[in-house]
């Protein structure tokens, strides 16, 4: 079952640490290797049936009530990627067994991450449910993070890991938003259902935002410009990881996503332009930058970026076909780009995988990947050299390697574009072949650099950390297999096309399946006669050779791009600026000064409440129904006001306490006027006890000083204070004018019948609302305990032994 296939790497991952610890003598990789091989073989058996148009769906309920289920969906598209994941996975693990020393490396971790990644990647390509897809999507980012940071003691590893994580997870979150928009629009999380229902929603306001957000996810994952900057830094990972994640599989997840969503969004101008343009820019920018790299892995990283751009642009171009009515057979020809994209996806995985392994071998055997130190390895490492030639030439698009085929088809696709006359393509369409051609020239150049600067020229053993020699045979098996495939696919492309690519295409362009003659053009052949494509290739080679030869002359071009303004620098500086500015900003208002905090709080209250009052007109005052004020009430009120107002001007702390006490006593008097004897009693006692507490504590506090503050601040405080007071008064007056309902309290006048008490207040406290009273007791208890603890428990250094155990 497919779901189990997805989960199995995770399960094995759980026991890997145990295997690693218990069987120290065997390289853990051997156990791990079983997983992808078994999975690969399991998947291979689906090829015939999928090729005949079958799809497989397995559903395991996860959160059925929310419509989130673990639904595995196998069709032509997912099968291509799944085979890559398990196939390349097997080869990479085999390679890693020789690459990573079991003595020096913590293989337990390594293989856990790798298996986690493998499972996650399978999850991505098999998931039908958007949320589950997202789950696995982020898991790939996380495992990638861990693998990049595998040598976490290196600064650069940590840097690269964080960068990739930040960028891909951010993109992922954007994608999630897009997914949720889709699901909200169509009320389903199932991709199949979305594809089935999308027709009615293309005009929905959320359609384009959802599309762009999904693309954000895809572009970040697939290292498309300008998000590509993480990929070169991801090269800090061990080379098997680079070969696997950062060229063959993970970065293809974005490609997969775009392909998967082509039936949803394809046919829209925005999709066409964004996908194809971003792809073209990436294609160019990657190839252009790859040329100047001196680190072999960095060169490969930029090359990967460039190739991913190529595939992306193909997907964009192909999507234009969906603009046409599906029954229009002629339109199918434009969809060749989709076919090409999938074809190149596979091809790229083979030759780039091989190249990474080659670079890994060079690194492993010489101790460096710096082109400037390398050279003349051809004779020392003949097998590796051969592999490098195969991979590079395929990458450069030369026969007899598979890269040639897909590159030719790419040229066809870009040339076809120019014939379209919608989406304003007629105006800008010429850009496609031009950019494609220029990028191909650079691709040719860096491919040559890779081979010739490393293996030809002068050997400089003194610059190498190790004495170079050919890699052990085990390490060569995987690249040899991949290189063989590079050649096999050139000679038998239709084997691949028929059984894998075409079913994949059918999954991406389901509406074209069955349209008459749609598949005749998918017959891949190396020779089409002297057509434009071939001429372009010849031009590429010619110009490429010239540029390669003249490299020192035009190297200066790169200096035209100031270092300060590179995207990398932008990333670094914005993070740094973000952190610094955050610190500055936060420090500026989070002063730790209570006064400031209180000012913020008061101002927030004033602004918000006054704002709402002004907006709603809540204040309405009418004092005509007031009870008249008797003389003594007025007198006491006046005394109270004067007392209160004189407190801030009090000259000593004792005076202030006394005045506060007077205030409390006068309040008790008001309680008397308001017929609240219980309150009056309580207030009196509490006021006195509080005053006693004030005295007890104040003795130790410093003498009450005149507030030494700038007059400006004093005035501001006064303004705030008066405003707050006024606000309270106005609201209180409004409330008195707007008593919407009578109080429930007449009920309590039956206190005697109900609770056997004559004192209503006491009945409320002791019975009707006894719960409040009970908690109030608890409050007191806690206050008492708190005070006790506060006083008795002191920081240790002072050694006040006797105080700790009080009574």
């Amino acid at each position: 079952m497919l779901n189990l296939a997805i989960v199995s790497p995770f399960i094995i991952a759980l026991i890997v640490p145990l295997l690693y610890k218990s069987l120290k003598r065997v390289h853990t990789g051997w156990f791990v290797l079983i997983v992808p091989i078994v999975l690969f073989l399991y998947l291979v058996q689906f090829i015939p049936s999928v090729a005949s148009g079958e799809v497989y769906i397995y559903e395991v309920p996860w959160i059925p009530s929310l419509g989130i289920n673990f639904t595995a969906y196998l069709d032509g598209l997912s099968l291509i990627l799944a085979l890559l994941i398990t196939g390349v996975g097997s080869l990479v693990i085999l390679y890693s067994i020789y690459y990573l020393s079991k003595e020096r490396e913590s293989l337990g971790h390594f293989y856990v991450y790798l298996l986690m990644f493998m499972g996650a990647m399978l999850g991505v390509v098999f998931s039908d449910n958007l949320m589950v897809l997202y789950l696995f999507w982020e898991l790939t980012s996380i495992s990638s993070f861990l693998l990049i940071a595998y040598w976490y003691h290196r600064r650069q590893s940590r840097y690269g890991a964080q960068k990739s994580m930040l960028i891909t997870v951010t993109g992922g979150i954007g994608m999630l938003a897009g997914f949720i928009m889709l699901s909200t629009m169509m009320d389903t999380f199932s991709i199949r259902e979305i594809i089935a229902n999308v027709a009615g929603y293309t005009d929905h306001a959320l359609f384009i935002p959802a599309m762009l957000l999904v693309l954000l996810g895809a572009f970040t994952k697939s290292a498309q410009f300008p998000f590509h900057i993480w990929l070169p830094d991801a090269m800090e990972a061990p080379t098997p990881v680079s070969a696997y994640l950062h060229s063959a599989t993970m970065v293809k997840a974005g490609i997969y996503l775009v392909a998967r969503f082509t039936p949803v969004f394809g046919g829209d101008a925005v999709w066409f332009w964004v996908v194809s343009l971003v792809g073209m820019i990436t294609l160019f920018w990657g190839s252009f930058n790859a040329v100047r790299q001196t680190d072999l892995k960095a060169l490969l990283a930029y090359s990967t970026i460039s190739q991913l751009g190529l595939i992306m642009s193909l997907l964009g171009i192909g999507s234009a076909a969906l603009y046409f009515d599906a029954s229009n057979a002629a339109s199918a020809m434009y969809s060749i780009a989709i076919f090409t994209a999938l074809f190149h996806l596979v091809n790229h995985s083979t030759f780039k995988g091989a190249l990474f392994m080659v670079v890994g071998i060079v690194d492993h055997e010489t101790g460096t990947r710096d082109i400037r130190k390398l050279g003349g390895l051809m004779t020392i490492m003949p097998v590796t050299f051969t592999l490098a030639v195969v991979g590079s030439f395929a990458m450069a698009g030369l026969p007899p390697f598979n890269g040639f085929l897909s590159k030719e088809m790419f040229f066809t696709a870009v040339l076809d574009v120019t014939q379209l006359s919608f989406f304003s393509i007629d105006t800008w369409g010429m850009l496609f072949p031009i950019v494609a051609w220029i990028a191909s020239v650079f691709t040719f150049v860096y491919s040559m650099i890779l081979v010739f600067k490393t293996f030809l020229g002068k050997h400089q053993p003194e610059k190498l950390e190790k004495t170079a020699h050919e890699a052990p045979i085990g390490m060569l098996i995987s690249p040899v297999i991949l290189a063989s495939l590079v050649i096999v696919f050139f000679f038998f492309p239709n084997l691949l096309g028929e059984y894998l690519i075409k079913p994949g295409y059918a999954a991406v362009m389901p509406t074209f399946v069955g349209v008459e003659g749609y598949d005749t053009q998918f017959n891949i052949s190396a020779w089409h006669g002297f057509n434009t494509e071939l001429l372009m290739t010849l031009g590429v080679v010619g110009f490429g050779v010239v540029l390669y030869q003249l490299w020192p002359k035009w190297e200066g071009v790169y200096a035209l791009f100031p270092r300060k303004w590179t995207l990398d620098n932008l990333y670094n500086r914005s993070l740094l600026t973000l952190e610094n500015q955050s610190t500055n900003f936060t420090n500026r208002y989070m002063t730790g000064n209570m006064y400031h905090y209180m000012v913020y709080i008061f101002i927030a209250i004033l602004v918000i409440v006054t704002g709402v009052v002004a907006y709603t007109g809540a204040i309405s005052i009418d004092s005509s129904n007031d009870a008249p004020i008797s003389i003594y009430e007025g007198f006491i009120a006046a005394v109270m006001a004067v007392t209160a107002l004189s407190i801030p001007f009090a000259k000593s702390r004792l005076t202030a306490i006394l005045l506060n006490g007077v205030l409390g006593y006068l309040l008790a008097l008001f309680f008397v006027f308001f017929r609240a004897p219980d309150l009056a009693l309580t207030q009196l006692v509490v006021e006195t006890v509080s005053a006693a507490l004030f005295l007890l504590c104040f003795y130790f506090l410093p003498e009450w000083e005149k507030e030494a503050r700038k007059p400006r601040i004093k005035v501001m405080n006064a303004i705030i204070a008066v405003s707050v007071g006024t606000l309270v008064t106005l609201l209180a007056l409004s409330v008195q004018n707007n008593r919407f309902f009578d109080s429930i309290s007449s009920f309590y006048e039956n206190a005697y019948e109900l609770a056997g008490a004559q004192n209503i207040v006491n009945a409320i406290l002791g019975d009707f609302r006894a719960f409040d009273t009970m908690l109030e007791v608890v409050v007191l208890l806690i206050a008492g305990l708190g005070v006790y603890v506060l006083i008795k428990l002191k920081p240790k250094k002072e050694e006040r032994g006797q105080d700790v155990e009080g009574e």
Binding site: L654, L658, G661, P677, L681, L684, T688
Partner: protein
């Protein structure tokens, strides 16, 4: 008539309280203030008694003794505060 007399009495007490409050504000010494506070407390007792009659309730008679108790305690507290700073000693040294 009786009510009027009571109101006058209340007014007189209030005046006394007001005067004492003046002494609290003016000082000059701390004991002066305490003396005045004590006087206020004692006058409040009278007020409570008279208010009980005015409002025709016994409810506030409870207040009388309370004020007496509190006035006494607070005066002691203030005095000790002024005299020794400490109002409750851990152990009196004598």
């Amino acid at each position: 008539m009786f009510q009027v007399l009571l109101i006058i009495a209340l007014f007189l007490f209030a005046t006394a309280i007001g005067i004492a409050a003046f002494r609290i504000i003016k000082g000059p010494s701390m004991p002066d203030r305490v003396v005045a506070l004590d006087a206020i407390g004692v006058n409040l007792i009278s007020v409570a008694a008279v208010v009980s009659i005015v409002l025709n309730t016994r409810a506030f008679l409870e207040v009388i003794l309370i004020i007496g108790i509190l006035a006494f305690i607070s005066t002691i507290a203030f005095s000790k505060f002024i005299e020794r700073g400490v109002i409750i000693e851990r152990k009196r040294d004598r």
